[in-house]
């Protein structure tokens, strides 16, 4: 490739096309001596931050859970929704029975092989973005029924799980802490 004139920019900048465009624009503007408009640049930045931040804020503060109590952890889930540890003060209200209106599925109780097709069907009926919390040890890893012939060893063999809560059963305060962690994940404050 002799005889070609030397390129004005390096190879590393060529790889990133946005950087390349910036370089080209600044090169062309440099000859014109126009001062960039600070007001419009800041306005664009703030509206972008406001809109995506507002969407994330509203999504994380109004997560509606689905009633999925299978076994003993469902009793603590009912206690979580009633008056001492109030789930509604962080937006976790409206335990709905239909999956079309819900964001979070809290799997509480042990999962047997007979009920796995129903769980998959309900998960596919939920609208994205959707999240799953595995509540208790039976949903995390099989629990005390690890050696049984009819049990799935954890719900994460079937569905993707976001937060695991350990305990048998975990106290409702533990579920509240898991809820706060899930809210941080939905709001983008935690690196996934």
């Amino acid at each position: 490739m002799e005889g070609q004139e030397k390129r004005p920019y390096s190879d590393a900048a060529f790889m990133d096309s946005k950087q390349e465009m910036d370089l080209l624009v600044s090169k062309s503007l440099a000859g014109r001596e126009v001062k960039p408009n600070v007001l419009f640049a800041n306005l664009e930045k703030t509206t972008k931050a406001l809109s995506s931040g507002m969407v994330k804020w509203s999504r994380k503060n109004s997560l509606w859970p689905m009633q999925f109590g299978l076994a003993c952890c469902a009793i603590e889930l009912m206690d979580f929704g009633s008056s001492r540890i109030d789930a509604e003060r962080r937006g976790f209200l409206m335990f709905r029975a239909t999956p079309r209106q819900c964001d979070v599925m809290i799997v509480a109780g042990w999962v047997t092989k007979s009920i796995v097709p129903e769980i998959k069907r309900l998960y596919e009926q939920m609208l994205s973005p959707k999240y799953v919390i595995a509540y208790g040890e039976c949903a995390t890893c099989g629990g005390p029924w690890f050696e049984s012939y009819n049990i799935m060893k954890g719900i994460d063999q079937v569905l993707p799980v976001d937060v695991y809560v350990a305990g048998c059963p975990p106290k409702p305060e533990n579920l509240f802490g898991a809820l706060v962690k899930l809210q941080k994940k939905v709001g983008g404050e935690v690196e996934v």
């Binding site: 092989k113 007979s114 690890f146 050696e147 049984s148 012939y149 009819n150």
Partner: protein, 129 residues
């Protein structure tokens, strides 16, 4: 338990009918135990007014595992017999035995027999007995 006697399979229906006429009209449980060379089926009966309990055992050899049904005498025997048939593999003659508890279970031994061994790889101490 106060009385505990063995019956033959052929006399079973007559013996239970006699007990029902004597006042033992509450059938509490039908279950079975797997000793390795034979099996025993157990019938628990209760007399509510006089507070007495009785246990009738039937011995079954491994080559002929069947029992007659007692569903006409006691209505609670229906689901107990279905559970015993599914868990131990004992056929109940006189009715259709369908599955009760396990769905989608193909071609494996009845679970509660001693010959069905499950989960040995999770345990690091030897099997007792």
């Amino acid at each position: 338990m106060r009385f505990d006697r063995y019956e033959d399979r052929a006399n079973l229906a007559d013996a239970l009918e006699q007990m029902k006429a004597k006042g033992f009209s509450y059938l509490e449980k039908i279950t079975a135990v797997d000793y390795k060379d034979h099996m025993e089926a157990l019938y628990f009966l209760v007399d509510i007014e006089k507070n007495e309990n009785e246990l009738i055992k039937v011995r079954l050899e491994n080559s002929s595992l069947w029992l007659p049904t007692v569903m006409e005498l006691f209505k609670s025997a229906d689901w107990y017999e279905r559970e015993m048939a599914e868990m131990f593999g004992i056929t109940i003659r006189g009715r259709k035995t369908e599955r009760l508890l396990l769905e989608k279970w193909d071609g494996i031994d009845p679970p509660l027999r001693k010959s069905f061994v499950w989960g040995q790889e999770y345990r690091n101490r030897e099997q007792k007995g």
